[in-house]
Amino acid sequence: MIFLSDFLRADVVDVHQKTVGSVRDLIVRVQEPYPVVTAVALRPRGGAPETIAWSAVRAWDDRELALNVPAASLVAYPNAETELWLSRDVLDKQIVDTDGRRVVRVNDLQLQEADSQLLLVGVDIGARGLMRRLGVEQIGRRFRRLTGSDFPQRIVSWDAVDPVESDERSVRLRISHQKLAKLHPADIAEIVGQLGGRDREAIFASLDDETAADTLEESTEEVQAQILARLSDERAADILEAMSPDEAADLLADLPEERREQLIAKMEADEAEDVEELLTYEEDTAGGLMTTEFVAIPVSLTAAATIDRLRELEPDAESIYYVYVVDDEEKLLGVLSLRDLIVAKPDTRIADIMIKRVIAVPLDARPEDVAAVIAKYNLLAVPVVDDDDRIQGIVTIDDAMDEVMPAGLKRRARAL
């Protein structure tokens, strides 16, 4: 295997075996799927230019790079400043390994020859790369002979990495967070949690509202507060609208009052009203835990009419587990599972198939009790009712689980 570290510090000799300098860096042009080496950066000796096009290289090994032209005819590579310098810009930096879904550091870079081109194909993130850089790979071999176990070679393919760097330079090179944005929001949240504040912001800025909202829901309170503190009011309001109202309310509750009012004012009236209502409930109650996104239908509908309405409204996944049946005063009369609805004959009246004994919890129920009810009756969601039995919202199983799970299981601590 060829590595960047093999090249660094190698002597560069011209066609007459005259030394013109040593290798300082390799320069690549970013392209899909693999960047191609275009030039060598030198520590020049004897008046050689600081960069040489890769086309001038005839042969190389780990000690020497031989050119196919005389020193006198060398010219500087023209695009050096607009392309990526591997040692300067990539080596030793942090990157996101989108396969392993974590933040890792570049210990070395793997290159490969293909069609007389040298391509950047992989990133070495393992202990072997570190030992190669330290010049002690030999010790690794001895260790292997002694113990039988090897230091693992851990190389991530270049097409699975996403840069963390969010400076001017990466922007200019149009290195985006495309690969990262395709991950599951829970994974993005975990990666974001491992980064510094600046990089977090850059990643959130590159996500669309939906993904940003889902990622924020999965993030720790600290990350949430910090991201929200930095976003413009407009963007923050857009993201909050895309979140489920209960999560948005939790987040807003942690903000200073002034900022909270500003953001709510910028949100769409409907969403804002949901959130404001949820904000009136105390955090550690069913009211604080519930979401106001649920499906409630009048008792007079038929199964077919109900399904038609569902198609029309396209409710979110977590709010379609159950369809609640209410009277004119919103009092809870019964409940239907989606299954009940689908297997019923189209013209069946809802009143005939609904389950009349509805398990519900009061607004001030404690979260542990809500979770216990959900567990005991094997529910996916439980309705929350006020003193007059009017449905106010539902607590879904995922939110209830978050309340009773030990924090350590879910949350990865950030030590500093």
Binding site: L91, D92, K93, Q94, R102, V104, R105, V106, N107, I125, L130, R133, L134, G196, G197, R198, D199, R200, E201, Q226, R230, A253, D254, D270, E273, D274, E276, E277, L279, T280, Y281, E282, E283, G288, T292, E293, F294, V295, A296, I297, P298, L301, T306, R309, L313, P315, S319, V326, D328, E329, E330, P406, A407, G408, L409, R412, A413, R414, A415, L416
Partner: protein, 448 residues
């Protein structure tokens, strides 16, 4: 039928009615906990305060007891240097958005990172040891046997790290550390000669008060090492990075760092002054704290304020300060080193997934607690000795910081100016010369 807001069904209660309901909702949704307010205290203030830990308390008390006001002059240059160093670190963190070890790795490569990591591990290992000495000393004053104190603290830290809300814990310990304000109060209760204080603060006295020059230099290095701890620099930059402070807010960061430094040095100076007008006058001149019963002696400086409860007051403050640092140090050291090498770093990952992280964390904790478990290891001797180590290792880290803070690519127009470099280089040089001197005197027969 409705989703969320009613579409056709709902308007049984009008909007106004519901708004009225909302207003009448009796309890607010969240009682913002106290620590949320404390969260606005900037990293600069917290870090500078955390610098007044076990090592600091013993070193300052010892200097005041041994030399009276004789080393007070050092506090002003130390203050200037502390501000300069912290400001560089804060600037690096704010502009680059990266931690100190990250920058060392990215700028200097693998070899230098290995070297810097070794320095950080040794320095922070020493400081962790000092914190355990502080725990042993504090609980010793309250009558708790040392082995229970040390093992209890180590176990508690292990549990806290795995379970609790770290930030809240930090703030509780920080609050306990406020007991050291009592030094400032005490300074106004005992007859302090403020004219002498003013004079000795600005006019350096070179008399050793009968102390050998080797010991004098060691005390001076300890004084610098405990005021400008290597670990404070790492911690400060990390917390700024974690907060994601914008470069445009840099002026606030600087104000925070400067006020934090001034505050920390002021507290340190008051400990020296108070002990100078209590302990120094009562038979400690030229001797300093005894190595083994130093906690008891240091505590007696607070007697004018707390009378017979001086030991308890001192113990509470010392315990808070020591536990705070002992909880944060091993964890943050393991974290920054793992981050620099790209190794897995998460408390939740478990040993098999994050072997380096856990080896470092448990290793530092074990070294700190383990050494203090050895019978007869002196509390204040260890607490002060480790500060000498910090002072010796500081210049190494300082060189990295200075080179980074001069990097045009990293900081652009915010890189160091010549005055900065002059002061920072002078500090590194003076410390290195003092260290060399200390090493030489250690091998030569004492001249006193």
């Amino acid at each position: 039928m409705r989703i969320g807001r009613p579409t056709t069904l709902r308007p049984l209660r009008s909007r106004a009615e519901r708004a009225a309901d909302r207003r009448s909702a009796q309890r607010p949704r969240r009682l913002a906990p106290m620590w949320r307010y404390l969260a606005v205290v900037g990293p600069g203030l917290i870090v500078a305060n955390a610098g007044n830990d076990a090592g600091g308390i013993f070193t300052y008390s010892n200097v005041g007891a041994k030399y009276g006001l004789g080393l007070l002059w050092a506090m002003l240059p130390i203050c200037v240097c502390l501000i300069i160093v912290q400001e560089m670190v804060a600037r690096l963190g704010t502009v680059t958005g990266k931690g100190l070890m990250d920058l060392i790795r990215e700028r200097f490569g693998v070899r230098w990172t290995l070297f810097a990591s070794a320095v950080v591990i040794v320095a922070n290992g020493g400081t962790t040891l000092a914190e355990f000495a502080g725990v042993a000393g504090a609980l010793g004053l309250l009558g708790v046997p040392r082995w229970i104190a040390v093992l209890g603290a180590a176990a508690m830290i292990g549990v806290l790290v795995l379970r609790a809300n770290r930030r809240m814990v930090e703030r509780v310990f920080l609050a306990l550390g406020l007991a050291f304000f009592s030094y400032i109060i005490t300074a106004f209760l005992v007859p302090v000669d403020w004219r002498a204080v003013g004079h000795d603060l600005v006019v350096p006295s070179l008399s050793h008060g009968g102390v050998s020059s080797g010991a004098y230099i060691a005390d001076l290095i300890a004084l610098v090492g405990t005021s400008i701890t290597p670990y404070m620099q790492l911690f400060l930059q990390s917390s700024i990075v974690d907060k994601g402070t914008a470069e445009s807010d840099y002026k606030y960061v600087r104000a925070d760092v400067i006020s934090g430094s001034l505050f920390a040095v002021a507290v340190a100076a008051f400990i020296v002054i108070t002990t100078a007008f209590t302990l120094n006058l009562h038979g400690f001149a030229g001797q300093g704290l005894s190595s083994s019963s130093g906690a008891q002696e240091a505590a007696s400086a607070l007697a004018p304020l707390a009378g017979s409860h001086a030991a308890q007051l001192f113990a509470v403050g010392l315990l808070g300060a020591s536990l705070l640092a002992a909880a944060v140090l091993p964890l943050s050291t393991a974290f920054v080193v793992c981050e620099a090498f790209g190794a897995e770093r998460s408390v939740q990952a478990g040993f098999n997934e994050a072997p380096l992280f856990f080896t470092l964390f448990i290793g530092l904790l074990a070294v700190g607690a383990g050494i203090m478990l050895i019978p007869g290891v002196p509390v204040s001797g260890v607490a002060i000795g480790t500060q000498v180590l910090d002072g010796i290792l500081l210049p190494v880290l300082l060189v990295f910081i200075i080179v980074l803070a001069n990097d045009r690519r990293l900081l652009g127009r915010r890189r160091n100016g010549p005055v900065y470099n002059a002061i920072a280089v002078a500090l590194a040089t003076v410390l290195s010369v003092l260290t060399a001197f200390l090493v030489i005197t250690a091998f030569l027969p004492s001249s006193s």
